[in-house]
């Protein structure tokens, strides 16, 4: 027999209470994991951003475009090693629920600057050769069952009309955080169309992407760019790609904040539920703990018994919660995809989420133990031997 034997036997005294507590913890862990996964998905763009890219957009708003004429001037600036540009296309496939991001890009320079977008040389060549061609992400292709050669019809919103694009390649991301739900169409094809329908807005781009040689000089280059276009008709705002992505996250700051508060509240509830179970257990065993003292058990032994019990219950709950998270997250991701399209392409369960919830559970077990441990340490043995529980 060991102290572990005593811990496990003690747990079996009130099996229903221990089971309900563990199930409660499992439910909270499940909810916590889904919340953290959701918050992570919000930050996926930030995580995928690279430090050697700057985004140049109109100083007033992203919805106001910049002249294509800026391209050569940007390319010639000190520290800039590459320039590309893109527009948000905003087409609708079938209905509004079928959302996925579509960018009109300059193919060669975009693929040159975005090394994380991997296509075969044949696909790249096919895309470069066909103005109606497009590249789609692997995840997007899987979602709709598209393959190379398929024609994708889109209804234009920002660029009105019925559009059709031929899939010339399916890219995959080089990193786990890479977004594989994009559809990349050709800016020149889009611009050609706009010259016919809306010539005043032709020849403009939504934003520029600059590649810089030294990420440490990003601040200096950004100020140089904005300084160069100050007092022009289209002043710029330049920031790192990460800051640019954070801008989108900040738009949902209140929701993300609420989710974080909810996650903290859930853990606080877990802590209280576990603490309550442990306090009850210790109170019921007041006399037994005093008896152990008379046998020569020290405070450290009794603390071990309490913490051991807390860790076991919390560990059981966490393990169950994590096991349930895997299928639940799959259902959750499917549900979100069905309702919101590809607004959250990174709802995959990341191992770091499980590590986080395991760490949080460990902290909860230790914190929840402090109340009963304090009671144990303050106990008067002579008095407790007369305790009638």
């Amino acid at each position: 027999m060991t102290l572990g034997t005593l811990i496990t036997r003690n747990l079996r005294r009130h099996l229903s209470r221990v089971s309900l507590t563990a199930f409660g913890i499992a439910t909270v862990i499940l909810a916590f994991n889904l919340i953290v996964t959701t918050v992570r998905a919000w930050y996926a763009g930030v995580e995928a951003s690279v430090p050697n890219r700057l985004i140049v957009r109109h100083a007033a708003s992203l919805s106001i475009h910049l002249p294509l004429a800026y391209r050569d001037r940007l390319a010639s600036m000190e520290g800039v090693t590459g320039v590309t540009y893109a527009n948000w296309f905003g087409g609708v496939y079938r209905d509004a629920k079928g959302f996925f991001p579509q960018f009109a890009i300059d193919p060669a320079s975009f693929l040159d600057l975005h090394a994380e977008v991997l296509v075969t040389s044949d696909e790249r060549q096919a895309f470069l050769s066909d103005r109606r061609g497009c590249l789609i992400g692997r995840r997007l292709a899987a979602q709709y069952g598209w393959k190379v050669g398929d024609v994708i019809p889109l209804k234009g919103t920002l660029y009105p009309g019925d559009w059709e694009f031929v899939v010339r390649g399916i890219y995959r991301g080089s990193e786990a955080s890479s977004d594989e739900t994009w559809m990349l169409i050709r800016w020149d094809h889009m611009n050609e169309h706009r010259q016919q329908l809306d010539p005043d807005r032709a020849g403009t781009v939504g934003w520029y992407v600059l590649r810089i040689a030294d990420p440490a000089r990003a601040g200096f280059i950004a100020r140089s760019v904005d300084g160069a276009f100050a007092n022009s008709t289209a002043e710029t705002r330049t920031e790192t790609e990460q800051a640019f992505q954070m801008g989108f996250v900040a738009m949902s700051g209140a929701i993300i904040g609420a989710l974080k508060v909810l996650a903290i509240a859930l853990n606080a509830i877990t802590l209280l539920v576990l603490a309550n179970t442990l306090v009850m257990a210790v109170r019921e065993r007041t006399r037994e703990l005093a008896v152990l003292r008379t046998l020569g058990f020290r405070s450290s032994h009794l603390v071990t018994l309490v913490i051991g019990e807390a860790l076991f219950i919390a560990g059981l709950g966490a393990a169950l919660g994590m096991a349930l998270t895997v299928p639940a997250n799959h259902l959750y991701a499917s549900f979100v995809a069905a309702k919101l399209g590809n607004l959250f392409p990174h709802l995959d369960l990341h191992p770091s989420v499980l590590v986080l919830s395991a760490s949080v559970t460990l902290c909860i077990a230790v914190c929840a133990s402090t109340i009963p441990i304090t009671a144990v340490l303050r106990a008067k043995v002579a008095q407790d031997l007369r305790h009638i529980g």
């Binding site: 060991t2 005593l6 079996r12 037994e288 008896v291 046998l295 020569g296 020290r298 405070s299």
Partner: protein, 234 residues
Amino acid sequence: MDQPAIEFRRVSKSYFRGEQEVPILHDFSLSVPAGTFLAIMGPSGSGKTTILNLIAGLDRPDRGSIHAAGLTVSTQRDADLARWRARHIGFVFQFYNLIPVLTAAENVELPLLLSKLAKRERSKHVQAALGLVGLGDRMQHYPRQLSGGQEQRVGIARAIVSDPTILLADEPTGNLDRDSAEAVMGLLTRLHQQLKKTILMVTHDPRAAGYAQDILHFDKGRGVTDDARHVDHA
């Protein structure tokens, strides 16, 4: 002269009930030689159990000093007292106080978990202790599967398994029928006579006290009558 197994030197102890101080022991001295079986009798609240708790270091005196099994108990730190208790003190309780989720053998093994004995050695000690109290065939029984007398014998086995210097018994027959009480007292007598254990037993039961070598009648914090031939008190 040999050093006494237990010695109280002018010990005083009070408790508080609310704000009222209730004196339990007043300037109490006691000297118990090693190998003595002493019964302490007296009315409820006279301080009998307090004496046992003070000897074991479960409570501390307000004044005076207590020495037991070679240690000045009243001045030790809690952790040191716990280690000392594990080696030198065996407790027998009125309500047995066995852990209900452990078998008889596991209950008896509990004090040995604090020793450095290997599992096999612990098992031998447990078998010997349970054999000594006549429960060698009840090792895997849980307390709920034993009679009161058997539970108390398991309690005694737990108290002696680590071969302590002093046995402290608090009303060991208080919850037993007559036959079981006689069996338990017979067992304590054997431990005293054969193993030369120093035993202090608190009891209300004159029949149980009759098994002891000496009896100290106790009231209002003092030994008031003296049938004790081997112990000194004041």
